[in-house]
Amino acid sequence: MNKIWLVIQREYLTRVKKKSFLITTILVPLIIIGFYAAILAVQISDSSETAKIAVIDDANLFGGKLESTDKNIQYDFVTGDTEQGYKTKYKKAGYNYFLYIPKIDINDPKGINIHSEASLGITTKSKVERAVNNALEAKRMEAANIKADQFKSINSDITITNPLDSGKESSTTAATIVATVCGVLIYMILMIYGTMVMRGVMEEKISRIAEVIISSVKPFQLMLGKIIGIGLVGITQFAIWFVLIFLLMTVLPTIFPSLMEQAQTAASSQAATPGMLANITNSLSSLPIGLILFCFVFYFIGGYLMYASLFAAIGSVISEDQQEAQQLVFPIMMPIILGFVIMTKAITDPNSGLAIFGSMFPLTSPIVMMARICFDVPAWQLVTSMILLILGFLFFTWLTAKIYRTGILLYGKKITWKEMIKWMLRRS
């Protein structure tokens, strides 16, 4: 026991003390937040050059007045010229674009052109189109004898709520987001820390220290110590990320309150329905946060331990060749990727047979169950999945320890799957 502890300490400390650990741990959240800040900044300061648009309105669609909804677009009406005639002049008059509206049938508008030197930006184009459409709609309503107020009272825009039989309120949007985030996180954890374990084992084998260590500790102790040590590195990394992100989220608004306000308005004006963001924030609180956190920790640890032992076994049979590593690691990547695919299905249809199977099968359950958990999973399924994961972990560790024990001491020889299976079946 004491020896496992020493191994854990070494595995943990050598990794945490590395410069690269510090850099990735601190830089990753900064980069993520910086990235979002950059997106927000772009949205807020949409101060690309002002588009000055000359308008010839032969149809009198706008009735001579067109209020720009955007400070970056400025409309000016030009009279007494034709489309062909003014086409050559608008540049000289100081305009970027020239919008021409011919005499049109309001029910079949044709021939509306906007002239420009270079092609028109998509944002500007859609804004101009919206302005023209609004004007057309107003004209049509007028023709159909509908008042604008009337139209507003007819127009419908509802959201459907989904109360569950258990009395709780489901919140599909928030659930989808949280489910995706959780699933992707577990997927990344398995991949990143799993490969880290594999590389650690390979390092020991290739540098030939394995035999020295094995003459002091049992192979199983070494393997377990490594897996736990690296797992703790992962937990440390995640803890630092959570703290950093939390700090930045709380600190930033207090330092730059105006910035955040602007960002929020920008974000909400950008969203399809202005209330969506608020909706999500509200419904987040309706999710079982405690349960999700508990499950996240459970599936993080359970899934990691199970896959880490598989990765360790693969690391132990690789002799120098990197290419060999890729071939051998593929069968282990498969179920992780499969889990990811089932997860994407499970999010859209959380109670399908495939999703239920995926959330039970130990090799995929950490990813799939994490996604399903946001959609109210029956307790028996959750418990079964957890028990199966623990059993899976014990089974795979028992199996892989046998491969590891033999593989780590075999040098310069390519090991086939057949041999590995033979080692697995051998009694210890």
Binding site: T14, E203, R208, E211, V212, I213, S215, S216, K218
Partner: protein
């Protein structure tokens, strides 16, 4: 008293008998040479003694009790042929880690490391990494980490490979000192001149079996061919040699190498030359070198043994 006794040890792989019924016993404080051609089963044998492998059959007695790998490995220091250290780890930390894995407390480990680092002039290495060391330097470090915990049994597989003569001597001296202090040393190598120089006792294995076991002088006696070198003060004439007492193997102006017929004694030979009026300057027996014995015993073993698939 025997520190280590092996009784009918066997370890069979699917296609070969790596260790096939080997027994021997090692006295405390002695230096043993474990010899054998490549693929003779030395590494498998050593791995069983270090508790890495379990024997299929047979018994190992360690220090008077049945070998219990879990508790006894802290009394063993093993330097495998395939050297290995963590390349990215600092040297001081590495030595400390390996010592603590052998059950030393942190304080004891530090004290022992300091002592050895001073002895080998390695104090300035503490914060360096193994990847910065030359091959010889890491070899020294490897040796130090093997003996840090004052093991009762020290197993060294080719300890001098890659070392210059100065460092070789340094380590040789330490091996003698350790043996004097009571450690038993198993020394596995192909370098016969080193075995002759260092070892008290040798064991030769081939094809998984022990084919020779004894002290170095004893083995040499067993394999001697009654060869003698005689130097004279006056030139040898052809008529001196027409005799049934010996067979001439080599002849120079004033020197002869002869094989004495086993029915006669040294005195008979000397008497003969004295009677012939030759002045004898020296008379020495030529004992076979371990190298000769090794080659004689092992010659003809198919080298292909080492290429057979080892499916464990």
């Amino acid at each position: 008293m025997a520190l280590l006794e092996l009784h009918n040890l066997k370890k069979y792989y699917a296609t070969q008998k790596a260790v096939d019924d080997i027994s021997f016993s090692l006295e405390k404080g002695n230096i043993f040479g474990l010899l054998g051609p490549n693929g003779a089963g030395k590494t498998t044998l050593l791995r069983m003694i270090t508790g890495i492998f379990f024997p299929d059959e047979g018994k190992i007695m360690f220090d008077g009790k049945e070998f219990d790998p879990l508790n006894d490995i802290v009394h063993i220091g093993y330097m495998p042929e395939e050297r290995g250290l963590y390349k990215k780890m600092k040297i001081g930390e590495q030595a400390l880690y390996l010592a603590r894995l052998k059950g030393l407390s942190k304080a004891d480990a530090m004290a022992s490391i300091k002592e050895w680092f001073v002895k080998f002039e390695m104090q300035s290495w503490w914060n360096k990494k193994v990847e910065d060391l030359s091959k010889g330097m890491s070899q020294k470090l490897q040796f130090v980490t093997t003996v840090l915990h004052e093991p009762k049994l020290i197993i060294l597989d080719e300890p001098f490979s890659g070392l210059d003569p100065v460092n070789s001597n340094l380590i040789k001296e330490e091996i003698y000192k350790l043996a004097k202090k009571g450690s038993t040393i198993i020394f596995s190598t192909h370098r016969m001149e080193q075995v002759e120089e260092i070892c008290d006792h040798i064991i030769l294995v081939n094809k998984g079996q022990k084919i020779l076991d004894g002290t170095v002088p004893q083995v040499k006696q067993d394999f001697k061919e009654n060869l003698f070198r005689i130097r004279f003060n006056n030139p040898i004439l052809p008529e001196h040699l027409a005799i049934h007492l010996f067979e001439v193997k080599d002849k120079k102006e004033k020197e002869l190498v002869i094989r004495r017929d086993k029915d006669f004694s040294n005195n008979d030979v000397l008497q003969y030359f004295i009677n012939k009026g030759l002045a004898i300057e020296s008379f020495n027996e030529i004992l076979p070198s371990l190298n000769d014995i090794f080659i004689k015993l092992v010659e003809g073993t198919p080298a292909a043994r080492q290429f057979q698939p080892v499916t464990a």
